[in-house]
């Protein structure tokens, strides 16, 4: 099955310790919803708030995320889904879409040769 990287964007600084009880409850339900819709979440990670990030461009080291924006990457997981329609249906249910959003991007596998 195709695999997609799902980038979760939340309002900065996206502190996972500050999740509302509703958000946490929705996240608990989300795993089951993914399966019901025909997908499968593989590895997932949550990140510390963006205030803890350090970025390097060229040889310049700066405090904070790589791109200054209202929303920052809060986490990332790999979704297996039969096609983009299913992946999008699953992504739409992600509670991150309430006040931020998600990016769905197919994983790259080098051509088999």
């Amino acid at each position: 099955m195709p695999q997609y990287g799902i980038f979760v964007y939340s309002p900065a600084p996206a502190d996972p310790m500050d999740l509302s009880p509703e958000y946490a409850a929705a996240l608990d339900r989300y795993a089951a919803q993914i399966e019901e819709l025909g997908g499968k979440a593989l590895s997932g990670i949550a990140l510390q708030p963006s205030t803890t990030a350090t970025s390097i461009r060229g040889d310049v080291v700066t405090d904070g995320p790589f791109i200054e924006a209202k929303e920052v990457v809060a986490g990332f997981y790999i979704l297996e889904a039969p096609d983009l329609d299913v992946a999008l249906r699953i992504a739409k249910l992600n509670p991150a879409t309430w006040d931020g959003g998600v990016e769905v991007r197919p994983l790259f596998f080098p051509p088999a040769e």
């Binding site: 195709p2 991007r105 088999a112 040769e113």
Partner: protein, 427 residues
């Protein structure tokens, strides 16, 4: 199989060109299911058309050119897949392999592969420009060069846009499928928007000298007819076709012999295509009978009221206004509100309409849209407020790109300036 025997070159070329116009989408849509990839399918279909030139000249034109081309293109696709198994494993399949070999198991939902092709080209994960370009290239069979000229970009730019879109379909696994009932309304709306965009782009080219680009208009009408054949129970498909036919019935009167714009109120109604108007009115009535009217059926109903009116003033303006009220409910767009303001002026007079225009200007979403100052200018002209009208015509001219529309606005501006100076008492 053949009806013409040894075809002479002209007959064969004509038959191939004809099959290209009529059957391209059908052949490509069927081949894509076997190829599992739009790029490969397109290549095989092009090869099949080239092969047809030789084979038909030798063996005669087949009785069913579309079936011949589909079989030839599918064979080429299978050959390509067999020749290179590595190639196949590298390609993300548009459909599961076992589905390819089944013989139309779900005939009710998918009477024809063309719908899959159309819905794939208009998938919401593709941006609107990509949807438009892909649909013209893959569904209508328009060459990349012609598409680039229609949209005033260079051919390499258009080629890159199409390649990028096809690559996304393949890499992100946009499925080759007609959406299910739960998603259909939204997805269908995207398809209808693309077809309507062909029409409006062709009807009022956003810039350049020709007010109408007949090819795009023809493609829009053809696609709408195909869609109605494939989805006869969707009232909005019927509504869109009705709208296009009714608008197109006035095509020859929208510009004069010099290519200048002629307003609806000044058009020669005796030159309107009555047969087309009858067809459009019937389609509109049928769409309304279904009870679920959407924005296209409502626009078609407005167009039909204009089409059957003896002249501009005799139009059933109160009914037009009621339809605009309904339209605004299902489609709260400032452009609809602007058109509604024109109907308000005909029912309640220009001052009431000017209030609506003021509200739209405060709203701000139509900033940069030349029809907003153009409508204001016309209302002021009707009230004899010449200097204000002139200022509004100038504002519209600053924003308009189409040569025919610019000429119209410039003439109206000159009139306003002249009338204003002839009446020094006017304040």
């Amino acid at each position: 199989m053949s009806v013409t025997g040894d075809g002479d070159t002209d007959t064969v070329e004509h038959a191939v060109a004809d099959a290209h116009r009529r059957e391209w989408a059908f052949v490509l849509a069927a081949t894509a299911r076997v190829a599992g990839d739009l790029d490969l399918a397109e290549e095989c279909v092009q090869d099949a058309y080239v092969a047809a030139l030789d084979t038909w000249a030798r063996d005669g034109v087949p009785r069913k050119p579309g079936a011949w081309l589909t079989a030839a293109a599918k064979r080429k696709a299978l050959d390509a897949l067999r020749r290179n198994r590595v190639f196949r494993t590298k390609l993300p399949l548009l459909v599961e392999p076992d589905e390819v070999d089944m013989d139309e198991p779900d005939d009710d939902a998918v009477p024809d592969d063309r719908l899959r092709l159309i819905f794939t080209c208009c998938h919401p994960a593709l941006n609107r420009e990509a949807q438009v370009a892909l649909t013209l290239r893959l569904v209508c069979g328009v060459s990349t060069g012609d598409i680039s000229r229609l949209f005033l970009v260079t051919e390499p730019t258009m080629a890159a846009r199409i390649t990028r879109a096809k690559k996304k379909i393949s890499a992100a696994r946009i499925p080759y499928r007609v959406p299910g009932a739960d998603e259909l309304p939204d997805r269908l709306d995207a398809v209808l928007t693309v077809v309507h965009l062909f029409y409006t782009t062709g009807h009022t080219a956003p810039s350049g000298g020709d007010l109408i680009r007949a090819d795009l208009v023809e493609h829009a009408l053809n696609l709408a007819r195909i869609l109605l054949t494939l989805m006869p129970d969707e009232p909005e498909v019927r509504g869109l076709l009705a709208l296009l036919i009714l608008t197109d019935a006035r095509r020859s009167t929208r510009t004069d012999a010099q290519g200048r714009l002629v307003l609806l109120e000044d058009q020669d109604r005796s030159a309107w295509d009555r047969a087309a108007i009858d067809e459009g009115c019937h389609l509109t009535a049928d769409a309304f009978r279904s009870g679920r009217v959407g924005r296209y059926a409502l626009q078609a109903a407005i167009a039909s009221l204009h089409a059957v009116a003896a002249d501009y003033a005799a139009t059933d303006w109160p009914q037009v206004l009621r339809l605009y009220d309904e339209l605004l409910k299902v489609w709260p767009s400032p452009v609809v509100a602007l058109n509604r303001a024109v109907a308000v002026s005909m029912v309640s007079g220009p001052p009431a309409a000017l209030d609506e225009i003021d509200a739209l200007e405060r709203d701000g979403r139509l900033g940069g849209y030349h029809y907003l100052p153009a409508v204001r200018a016309d209302l002021l002209r009707r009230l004899g407020r010449w200097s204000e009208a002139a200022a509004a015509y100038r504002a519209a001219l600053d924003l308009a790109d189409n040569a025919a529309e610019r000429e119209f606005l410039a003439n109206r501006l000159a009139e306003a300036v002249e009338s204003g100076s002839g009446r020094p008492s006017e304040r």
